[in-house]
């Protein structure tokens, strides 16, 4: 059994906090980041099994962070969350290796299921 460390990335601390608590309830070990650059740094430090990341963030977007993460750690599954994004951005994200793109408002059971599948793979 892996450590199930999950990096939750969102510029909204409320969202990060609540998601982390919910994930903890379901046996995950969440760590927090609040923008793309921070997420990349956290991944570089190692120990991250899955990344759950919002697409729209200030400074560096989730899509850019995805490419950076995948460039160094193609083995780490990344699940993106978006409220609204242009279709080509989403298509590009899929080509860049995103496991799944979840839509806001988040369907929590679906999210948990997707994350379980991602770590099992």
């Amino acid at each position: 059994m892996k450590d199930r460390t999950i990096l939750v990335v969102d510029d909204d601390p409320g969202m990060v906090e609540t998601l982390c608590d919910i994930l903890e309830l379901h046996g995950w070990h969440p760590v927090r980041a609040y923008d793309g650059a921070e997420a990349i740094a956290m991944v570089r430090e190692g120990e991250i099994d899955v990344v759950l990341m919002d697409v729209r963030m200030p400074r560096m977007s989730g899509a850019e962070a995805l490419r950076a993460i995948k460039a160094r750690h193609p083995e780490i599954p990344v699940v993106l969350v978006t409220a609204m994004a242009a279709q080509e951005v989403l298509n590009q994200a899929e080509r860049d290796g995103a496991v799944r793109i979840l839509k806001k408002p988040l369907d929590l059971p679906l999210m948990l299921q997707v994350l379980e599948q991602a770590i099992a793979a």
């Binding site: 409320g14 969202m15 609540t18 409220a83």
Partner: protein, 562 residues
């Protein structure tokens, strides 16, 4: 002008006639006067000849020379006798004027000076009498012995007056006077007013009456005959002509006035009415009515043309007004639509931003609810009930945001063949049906599939279905879903058992932000219609005869290439 012309003509005619009448009268008077003068001259010459014969008689010479001359003179003079009543006396006078012998009585002679020839004296007034003298010299050789003198009173000669009256008329008057104008008489007495003559003609007032006069000298005498005749008698004819002229003039002027009045009635009045109507037309009012001209002349035809013109102007104006009304209405609609679109564009951007920003906090709240539900396993039921309400309200908020975002975001439809029965199987369960409502399907047996964006049309259908359920307001009833194929189209009908849509709302319910619900943005049906139209169809509503509303989603069927 006519009046002036007639007056001028009348005046000229009258003057000409008057002048001609006067000339004629003068000529006649002249003629008569000269005839009278000639007659009188003959009788006077005759009398003077007889006086001269006596004067040349040897007995007369002898009478002057004899001692008993007086009686001898009487015998001689008796030959001249009192032949007429006019003779006063007949005398023999010596050259100094002393009477040598007198037949009746002795009277002073009338001549102022001695004469060597027989002559007639001027008329002399003596007492009440008008006297004249015929005298002839008596010579013995070259010696003047004296004169035979006969004095006569001037008397009216009945023959002359008769001639005058016959020739001229009873109003003619004869005057005789000395050529030097010293005495004038009407043959009865001396008259004070002398005839005023220029040449042999005169025209003057006597006793307030204008007279015409002509004169003629009585040859062999110092006398002048004047015949006077009242001008009015002469001019009676031309006066009557004048009155006839005046009458004719008055007739012509009166007739002219009458004709003018008639012309005015026939021409001017219709023209004035047409002018007034034309002014009314040009000022934008209706032509109005005025009595028609029934004549066949130019005015009648003008009236006809004018009426035709007025009618076409009226029609043109009505058409124009109608067009302006139509265009104005269309413009207003376009403008309203533009304003609405503009407003919606701004609102859409705002709503889109607000919606997106609200989604995050709502997501966090959802997470909290999830977490609390998961962790508060042993808390009282009321807490969980509150969490359920919280969760429901979050979903409602999310639905509102979804509507707003759907409305503001026009995605092109991704069409595919969608079988209707399968479509309904998928969609109907998405709507939570209150217990009293039963759905009845009424589908054509061989329905063609739709050629649409499954998601978008699904959204339309769910919207309409939700609407129908809400319209039935929990009272329950039957909700009928009909599907029909029709010439490459598919008609999806949703009929509810509710009260129907008020007529005044039938079109408005598709307007954005129009809502009759206490909750909601009024975007659902607007979005649905836009989506239906984006999919090549339409969404309409009508009321069923028995009261419910019927929403019709008209869509293209598959297998039809356009």
């Amino acid at each position: 002008l006519l009046t002036v012309a007639i007056a001028t003509f009348g005046a000229v005619a009258y003057t000409a006639v008057r002048r001609s009448d006067l000339d004629t009268a003068w000529a006649r008077l002249q003629n008569v006067t000269e005839r009278l003068a000639a007659t009188t001259r003959v009788s006077m010459a005759d009398r003077l000849r007889r006086v001269r014969e006596v004067a040349e008689d040897s007995a007369t010479v002898a009478a002057f020379q004899s001692a008993e001359g007086l009686s001898a003179g009487r015998r001689v003079l008796s030959r001249l006798g009192p032949d007429t009543g006019a003779a006063i006396t007949t005398m023999l006078q010596d050259p100094a004027g002393h009477t040598v012998a007198a037949l009746e009585r002795e009277v002073a002679g009338l001549f102022a000076e001695r004469r060597d020839t027989a002559a007639v004296s001027p008329i002399v007034v003596r007492g009440d009498s008008l006297l004249l003298e015929f005298s002839a010299p008596v010579h013995e050789g070259n010696r003047l012995l004296g004169h035979v003198v006969q004095l006569r009173t001037l008397r009216s000669a009945p023959a002359v007056v008769k001639t005058l009256n016959e020739l001229v008329g009873s109003e003619a008057k004869l005057y005789i006077g000395n050529r030097d104008g010293s005495v004038w008489t009407d043959l009865v007495e001396q008259v004070r007013q002398s005839p005023t003559l220029a040449g042999n003609r005169g025209r003057y007032l006597r006793e307030g009456r204008m007279m015409l006069a002509t004169s003629a000298p009585i040859g062999g005498s110092p006398y002048l005959f004047v015949v006077e005749f009242p001008e009015d008698r002469v001019l009676a004819k031309s006066r009557s002509l004048l009155w006839i002229l005046v009458g004719i003039g008055a007739l012509i002027i009166g007739g002219g006035a009458l004709a003018g009045w008639l012309l005015t009635r026939r021409i001017t009045i219709p023209l004035a009415e047409m002018t007034a109507a034309a002014e009314r037309i040009s000022s934008g009012a209706a032509a109005g009515t005025f009595p028609p001209v029934t004549t066949e002349d130019e005015i009648g035809r003008l009236d006809q043309s004018f009426r035709v013109m007025a009618e076409s102007v009226r029609q043109a104006r009505e058409n124009l007004e109608e067009q302006v009304r139509d265009r104005t209405r269309a413009l207003e609609l376009t403008r309203d639509a533009l304003v609405r679109k503009e407003r919606m564009a701004v609102l859409g951007q705002l709503a889109s931003s607000v919606g997106h920003e609200l989604r995050n906090p709502l997501g966090v709240i959802s997470n909290v609810v999830y977490y609390l539900n998961a962790t508060l396993k042993n808390t009282p039921g009321r807490v969980h009930e509150h969490l359920r309400i919280l969760s429901e309200q979050v979903k409602l908020a999310e639905k509102i945001i979804a509507d707003i975002l759907d409305f503001t975001r026009a995605k092109p439809p991704e069409v595919s063949e969608v079988p209707i029965a399968q479509f309904l199987d998928e969609q109907i369960p998405r709507v939570t049906l209150p217990s009293g409502i039963r759905i009845e399907r009424d589908l054509d047996p061989d329905l063609a599939p739709m050629q649409v964006d499954r998601v978008q049309v699904g959204q339309v259908f769910i919207n309409v279905l939700t609407n129908a359920v809400q319209a039935m307001d929990g009272k329950g009833g039957i909700l009928t879903i009909r599907a029909r194929s029709d010439h490459g189209r598919v008609r999806l009908e949703v009929e509810d058992d509710g009260p129907g849509v008020p007529d005044e709302h039938l079109e408005r319910i598709f307007e954005p932000l129009f809502t009759t619900k206490s909750r909601g943005f009024g975007l659902g049906l607007s979005v649905s219609r836009s989506l239906a139209q984006a999919n090549g169809g339409d969404l309409t509503v009508s009321n069923a005869p028995d009261g419910g509303a019927i929403f019709v989603i008209d869509l293209p069927a598959a297998g039809v290439t356009v």
